[in-house]
Each structure stands twice: as structure tokens, then as C-alpha cells.
């Protein structure tokens, strides 16, 4: 049996893999995106804080800040054509102690070094004027007007759909178990399925990045998944803050953020907990209670608000702070490893950077003359939503105001939901305050014929 041959095989359909699939497909190459799970965005990319970062606090001169700045610029350039939201809230780094206050000038300097020139320090009074809900003991802040909220799931979905619409190939439920490089081409062996041949392999395997890297070489980096737990508050909490409230960062993490979401909720998190487990991210009651308490200390009115849910994400941290992106010309291999929490912002920039590596080592790219730009459904109040349209279908999910037609569309092509989680991420059904109390039956009726194993009649 002859395996189909591609110019490029991308391993891992997280946000970076989806952006790479889009970039190389639009650059005129035949690309296959290979994902071990039943749907895209099923690993590190499914749980993050959903912020489009300016890169103001990244390490100056790092590859990370370069990719973030480029990704930030590219998202702003293309989001409208793909139907993706952008909510310009800005962010406030809030200092809560004299020590933190002392660090603020350094944060401003670093931001300016990173090219984010509109970042300014603010007095406690200025912080309170912008954010009257913050606790009285806020000592000062740094205002970053360019930080914004985006939809963390629709963005990679849009990149993937554009790749698919322009001729890309997707292989789901396809776990790469080994590979061989002979005669200038790779053969990737897939568990319980036909192998895939490609001239060049791109490793975007997220929390499995070092294991996939071992197919090409002894991995120079080791992934230690870093778990981040979040608490989600119901929509009435959304108006307690105007912008994204960031802590003064430490060497290890950006710290606990209080942010609105593009869907009109409020989010408190993440934690930063190293763990060996690569696939499962569990929540822990004690940690979530601590997050809630921390949120209430900074934003006292939060204590009267209803918690909607909690979740945990895993970011692929390595022993290095910076992204691990490089081309191996002798192995026809490109690595994008260690893309930590900034991957949502950096993805388009990382894809652009990898395109540069490709041109440097593997050949020229000939962009498609007139690519298609399919739009993804909008899930945010920033743009019109179906529930507010004349002739709408029945509202199935009352908390998130999701209509029957939206759910049906997400279950049909292109790139239909491959899991109930994928359906939730595509439509927001069952994501609201009742978590399916009111809508499980009707969602299940629609989803069960498309997603195996949800119910037996």
C-alpha cells in the first residue's frame, strides 16, 4: 500500500499546529495535520487565559517576544476576515505591596525594550479611577492598553478551517508512534492506521513535544507539563473589572490574573504546578478555593458572585524559558517545542518564523494567489450572535444563548466537533452557569448521532 505523500506533515493540532498548517497551506504546499485525539485543540491549547498579549513582559531579545509581537500583529491583521473577535480591554499590572511597587518602573522599561511603547506607570489613584472594584490596598500599577481578549478556541479553529478550505489534509485519531527518514522523506507510522509520508515534518506536539522530537534526534529539551487551574465566574461578575488585572510577575509565572473573557465571564487563575502527567489536568478543590480567596482579596465584590465552573490546562514547559524552535536541515525537520502559555498569542508569529526557517533551508514558498477566507461562527457579544437574529432557531443552551442551528452546524462539516468537549468549545453549549442542567438532554439528542459513546438509548 502506497502512503499518500505530502510536502509537510505537522504533528499536533494545537494552536501552533493549526497556525502552521494554515501558514504552509496558504504558502502553496501540501500539508497534513496529524492529531492523536478525536478533535483539534484537545491538549495544551484547550485551557488558557484567552488573552492576546502584547509581549510587554517577555524576555527582551528572546524568540518568544519576537513571535509574540509578530503573532499579535498578525492576529490584528487577519481576525476580521476570519470572523474572530478582538475585545480591546487593556491590562493593568497591579502592585499590592511596597516591594511590588518598586518593580513597576522595571516593568515599564522592559515593555519599552520589547517595543510596546504605550505602556505607562500609574499611581494608586489612577489605578483605582480605572478599576474602582480593586481592593483599597492597591499601591500602583502599570497600564498596558494593547492587551486584549480573544476567543481561545475559535482562533485555532479558524486557522484550521482556512487550511482545510485551501486544500489541507487533517488526520484525527492518529497517534504518531515512530518515524523513519530515508531518501529525503519521512514515513510516520500511525497507531492502528496507515502511515503518512512527507518530505518535511514539523513537531508541534505540545506536551508530547520531547517524545515526538525523539523520532528525529535525542530531544534537547524535556517537557515538564505545568498545570494551571482557573475558576470561572458567572456573567454578572464580568463588570467588576474593566480590564485584565495582571500581577507583578515572578521568574516562574505571570501569576494569578483576573480577567474578563470574550464570552462575558470573569476568570481567576492560573496556578503553576509542575506534573509528570502529560494528558490529564485535574482540578483540586483546595487549590480552587485558594484561587477564589486570592481573587476576592484583590476584588472584594467577587465574594458575592456565583462560580460557574473550574478548569485546568497544561502548558508545555521545558528547562528553558524561551521557545525551542529550530530547523534540522539534515533531517528535514522543524521543531516548535516549549511553547508555553503565550502560544495563543504567538501562534501566528511562530508559523511565520517557521516559514522563514523553511525558506532558509528547504525551498521557496509560493503563496496561493487567492486563498479562501472562511469565517468561523461568532461566540462573543463583541459581534452579532444568532440568538438576536430574526428567524433564529430554538435556543438550546439558555445560559450561553446557543441556538439549535449553531449546534447542528458545529456537528456537521467542515471540521465537525469530534468530542463533546469540541462541541462545547465550538458553540459554548453547556459551558454556562448551569453546566448542562437545563440543556444536556437536547444537546445530547443533537450530538449523539455524530459523537460515539455519549449515551445508549
Amino acid at each position: 500500500m502506497t502512503a499518500p505523500s505530502f510536502d509537510i506533515a505537522i504533528i499536533g493540532a494545537g494552536v501552533v499546529g493549526c497556525a502552521a498548517w494554515r501558514a504552509f497551506t496558504l504558502a502553496g504546499l501540501s500539508c497534513v495535520l496529524i492529531e492523536r485525539e478525536a478533535d483539534i485543540i484537545s491538549g495544551a491549547s484547550k485551557g488558557n487565559s484567552a488573552i492576546l498579549h502584547t509581549g510587554f513582559d517577555a524576555t527582551p531579545g528572546s524568540l518568544e517576544v519576537a513571535c509574540m509581537r509578530e503573532g499579535y500583529r498578525l492576529y490584528r491583521e487577519i481576525h476580521e476576515r476570519l470572523g474572530l473577535p478582538l475585545l480591546e480591554t487593556g491590562a493593568m499590572v497591579a502592585a499590592w505591596s511596597a516591594e511590588e511597587l518598586e518593580k513597576l518602573p522595571g516593568i515599564v522599561t522592559q515593555a519599552h525594550q520589547n517595543g510596546v511603547m504605550d505602556v505607562t506607570q500609574m499611581t494608586a489613584a489612577q489605578v483605582r479611577a480605572r478599576e474602582p472594584g480593586l481592593a483599597d490596598d492597591v499601591k500602583g500599577g502599570v497600564w498596558i492598553p494593547g492587551e486584549a481578549l480573544i476567543d481561545p478556541w475559535s482562533a485555532p479553529l479558524a486557522y484550521a478551517r482556512q487550511a482545510l478550505a485551501n486544500g489541507g489534509t487533517l488526520r484525527l485519531n492518529a497517534e504518531v508512534i515512530s518515524g523513519s527518514f530515508t531518501g529525503g522523506a519521512w514515513t510516520l507510522n500511525i497507531k492502528n492506521d496507515a502511515p503518512i509520508q512527507a518530505r518535511i515534518v514539523i513537531n508541534c506536539a505540545g506536551n508530547f513535544g520531547d517524545l515526538v522530537e525523539a523520532i528525529a534526534r535525542p530531544s534537547p529539551f524535556t517537557i515538564t507539563p505545568r498545570k494551571g487551574q482557573f475558576v470561572v465566574y458567572d456573567k454578572p461578575a464580568h463588570d467588576l473589572v474593566q480590564s485584565i488585572i495582571l500581577p507583578v510577575p515572578t521568574a516562574r509565572t505571570k501569576g494569578i490574573v483576573i480577567t474578563r473573557t470574550a464570552f462575558g465571564n470573569l476568570l481567576v487563575g492560573p496556578t503553576a504546578e509542575d506534573q509528570p502527567e502529560r494528558r490529564l489536568a485535574t482540578t483540586e478543590t483546595a487549590t480552587l478555593n485558594a484561587l477564589h480567596a486570592a481573587g476576592c482579596r484583590m476584588l472584594p465584590a467577587l465574594s458575592g458572585m456565583e462560580i460557574t465552573t473550574a478548569y485546568a490546562g497544561l502548558r508545555p514547559a521545558t528547562q528553558f524559558k524561551d521557545y525551542q524552535i529550530e530547523a534540522l536541515p539534515a533531517r528535514n525537520w522543524i521543531t516548535a517545542g516549549g511553547i508555553r502559555s503565550t502560544g495563543l498569542t504567538g501562534a501566528l508569529g511562530i508559523a511565520r518564523h517557521m516559514s522563514g526557517l523553511y525558506e532558509e533551508h528547504f525551498g521557496t514558498l509560493k503563496p496561493l494567489p487567492s486563498p479562501l477566507w472562511p469565517r468561523v461562527p461568532n461566540l462573543t457579544e463583541a459581534l452579532p450572535r444568532p440568538y438576536a437574529q430574526p428567524g433564529r432557531s430554538e435556543i438550546i443552551c439558555h445560559c450561553e444563548l446557543v441556538t439549535r442551528d449553531e449546534i447542528a452546524a458545529a456537528l456537521a462539516g467542515p471540521l465537525p466537533a469530534g468530542s463533546i468537549g469540541g462541541l462545547r468549545r465550538r458553540t459554548r453549549c453547556m459551558m454556562g452557569r448551569c453546566q448542562g442542567f437545563y440543556c444536556s438532554r437536547r444537546v445530547l439528542e443533537l450530538a449523539a448521532p455524530h459523537i460515539p459513546g455519549l449515551a445508549d438509548a
Binding site: V231, V232, D234, K235, P236, R279, L280, A281, T282, T283, E284, T285, L288, N289, H292, G304, E306, I307, T308, T309, A310, Y311, Y387, A388, Q389, P390, G391, R392, S393, E394, I395, H398, C399, L401, S419, I420, R433, C434, Q435, G436, F437, Y438, C439, S440, R441, L444, E445, A448, G453, L454, A455, D456, A457
Partner: protein, 397 residues
């Protein structure tokens, strides 16, 4: 400008609609976001409904049908969702025909209640398929869609036994019922029923520590008296811990009582914006549907008075606060004058002691009680006791 708009066509809303329509009020409309009115009883396909308010025993769906039949004088608008509330009874609604802006003299909030889902309980573990609430489980079971065969049931309020009944009807056998407290919360021989009739072991003093499983629930981790145990199962049904469905009044900035999580009302069922009234299970964690229905009728009686201009201005109210072992008390504001004043509350834990009401520093009510937290506390005060007073504290000590 409409006369009265009721949000929610469950027992409280439909009963209020019946009272208003029968009193000859024209233009009473009930907004229902679902394709069918009737509320949660529609999915409880076992007896236990109607005794209080209709003096007959129905099963859930029959009771819902009866509520609808009796409210025939009102217009029930299905598939109609309120998306935002503005001051003075102005509503933004989503209808199949498009968005609308609805103005009414009076809006009655009767949006009811839901169980606290896993997410809001901050339970440890993974997030596999097969974790649900009684309400969702009963709706799925009625549609013949069963997401599990051997679930554990978390909690032992009355609704947990409703989940057991549904499970038996659907031919599935829960592996256990878990109650973190020392005793079954449902009244009378619930534990006996669970064991003897359903063959489901009831474990008290048992905490759910963690949910395990990748795609589906595979087990739960339990703790009892410091001993941990992994119990294999394929689903988790979280029962009870009811929460008023109060996001609309909360978003609109109406006063919310943090103790009930529902809108704070005065003794005429008025919210902090007097164009809005509230009734039924929206007011506090949970009462049975018959009580909620009767509350709907009582609220409707006050709305009739409001339409005739007979209610006193709302700003004369004095605050009512709970104290001691009293978890909540409502109405949260009282305007003295007129008839007797009826208050309801709940204890925060099983308690034997003295229930007293202090109008400012004067004792106006006293009773020795022995009370469980799942039992309603009711007290009636003569209105004259509050004349000229600035506050009322109801204290359980």
C-alpha cells in the same frame, strides 16, 4: 405597555398567571424560554405533585399540564428568552421573530431554581463525560438517552430519591448514594427506601474527594472516617444544593440577598426596583413545587393590589436580617401596616434552641424550636409590633 409580564412558566409563574387572569387582568403574558411550559415537574415522571396547591396527587408531567390548563386566561409565549433587564420593568427579549424590547407595568420574576453542578462545587479530578445533575439526568432519561449504567448519586436531599426513582424507571442501578453529613437529608425513612426498594447502599459521612476517568467517568475517590476508597462507577449524579436562577436580577443590579442568592423582596414580593416582583423558588434555595405555586398566588395577589395603586411606597421598608444559627430569612424588607407579616427562614445546621425576633431592641416574638436545616422555619408577626421600628432581626440561638 403591557400590564403584567411573568418570566418563567413553572409552578410559581403559571399559578401567578392563573390568579391574575382569573381576577380579570387583561394582557398577562408569561415568557417561557423552553419550547414547552410547565417547568421542572415536566421531567419528574413519578407521583408527588399537586397535593399542596391542587389537593390532588399528580405525577410531574400531569401536574405541569394541569398548571398550564388552569392558566388558560394568560398568554404563554414559548421559545422566548429574556436576555437583559432594565429598570422600570423594561426587558430585552429574544424571540424566534427577532429581538424585541418589552415594556410592562409590572414584571414578575419566577425563574425558579437549578441544582449546583459539579463545576460550581469545585470538585477535584478530571472532567470526563458522565457527570450530571438530577435535573439533567431526568430529562435525558425521559428522552431515552442514558449517559451511564452505574452512576454514584451525590447527596441525600429529597431530590436524590427522585433521581433514584428515575434510575429505577430507566433500568439503571446506581452503585451508591453518598452523603457527606451524618444522616440522610430527605425526611423519613429515605435510607431504608434506598436500600430495601432500590438495593442501593447509602453511605453517610462520606466525602467525594475526586472524579477519575479520561473520556468517561471510571471511578470516584471517597473518604469516610479518614479511610480512602476508590469506587468504580461510570457516572456521577450531583443532586440538590439548589441555587436560585437569579442571574437576570443580579446582572440588572437588583439587590441580591447573599444568604438566599435570590433577589431581596419586601413583604409585597417587590424587588429593590418596585416594577419587579419575585416569587417561587427564585427567592431561596428550594421549597417543593406546591409551596412555590402558592407563593406565586400570594405574589399575584400583591400585584393585583399594585395595579390598583394600593401598595405603600417601597422606601418605607425596614431591613430584616438573620442572626445566630439562622441561615436566611425573607422577606428581607418589611413595610409595617396592614395584615400580619409572614416570614420564612432556614437554620444553617441542626439546632435546638430559641427563635426570637427583635424589632430594634424590643423582643416581639419568641419560640423554642428544634429544627433541621432542610426544614422550613415560619413565623408570623402582628404588623403592629413593627410600627415605628427601624429594623427587625430574627435570631436563632
Amino acid at each position: 405597555m403591557h400590564n403584567v409580564t411573568i418570566i418563567g412558566a413553572g409552578p410559581a409563574g403559571l399559578t401567578a398567571a392563573r390568579v391574575l387572569a382569573q381576577a380579570g387582568i387583561r394582557d398577562v403574558q408569561v415568557l417561557e424560554r423552553n419550547p414547552h411550559p410547565g417547568g421542572l415537574p415536566r421531567f419528574c415522571d413519578h407521583p408527588g405533585w399537586g397535593v399542596w396547591d391542587m389537593h390532588r396527587l399528580y405525577n410531574g408531567p400531569r401536574y405541569a399540564a394541569e398548571l398550564i390548563r388552569r392558566a388558560a386566561g394568560a398568554d404563554i409565549l414559548i421559545n422566548t428568552t429574556v436576555t437583559a433587564m432594565e429598570p422600570n420593568g423594561h426587558l430585552h427579549i429574544s424571540t424566534p421573530g427577532g429581538p424585541e424590547y418589552l415594556q410592562s407595568r409590572i414584571v414578575l420574576l419566577a425563574t425558579g431554581i437549578r441544582e449546583k453542578p459539579r463545576g460550581a462545587r469545585l470538585v477535584s479530578g478530571t472532567r470526563p463525560w458522565g457527570v450530571t445533575t438530577t435535573g439533567a439526568f431526568q430529562e435525558m432519561a425521559q428522552a431515552g438517552q442514558i449517559p451511564f449504567r452505574r452512576p454514584v448519586i451525590i447527596g441525600s436531599e429529597l431530590v436524590a430519591f427522585s433521581a433514584l426513582l428515575t434510575a429505577r424507571h430507566a433500568g439503571i442501578k446506581p452503585v451508591a448514594m453518598l452523603e457527606p453529613g451524618p444522616r440522610i437529608l430527605a425526611r423519613r425513612p429515605g435510607g431504608f427506601f434506598a436500600r430495601a426498594i432500590f438495593g442501593v447502599p447509602v453511605r453517610t459521612n462520606t466525602q467525594l474527594l475526586e472524579i477519575r476517568g479520561i473520556d468517561r467517568v471510571e471511578s470516584v475517590l471517597l473518604e469516610r472516617n479518614g479511610q480512602r476508597e476508590e469506587l468504580a462507577c461510570d457516572g456521577v449524579i450531583f443532586t440538590g444544593q439548589f441555587t436560585p436562577e437569579a442571574w437576570l436580577p443580579r446582572s440588572a443590579g437588583l439587590q441580591i440577598d447573599p444568604a438566599t442568592n435570590g433577589p431581596a423582596i419586601d413583604n409585597f414580593f417587590r424587588c429593590s426596583d418596585p416594577a419587579y416582583f419575585a416569587t417561587g423558588n427564585l427567592l431561596r434555595p428550594v421549597e417543593h413545587s406546591g409551596f412555590a405555586a402558592l407563593e406565586g398566588a400570594r405574589a399575584a395577589a400583591q400585584i393585583l393590589r399594585a395595579l390598583r395603586g394600593e401598595l405603600p411606597p417601597p422606601d418605607a421598608a425596614i431591613p430584616v436580617t438573620p442572626g445566630g444559627a439562622l441561615r436566611y430569612i425573607y422577606p428581607q424588607r418589611i413595610i409595617p401596616g396592614g395584615a400580619q407579616i409572614q416570614l420564612y427562614g432556614r437554620a444553617s445546621h441542626a439546632h435546638k434552641g430559641r427563635l426570637r425576633a427583635m424589632a430594634d431592641d424590643r423582643l416581639v416574638f419568641e419560640r423554642l424550636i428544634s429544627i433541621l436545616p432542610e426544614r422550613r422555619i415560619s413565623l408570623t408577626l402582628p404588623s403592629s409590633a413593627l410600627a415605628g421600628r427601624k429594623s427587625l432581626a430574627v435570631i436563632l440561638d
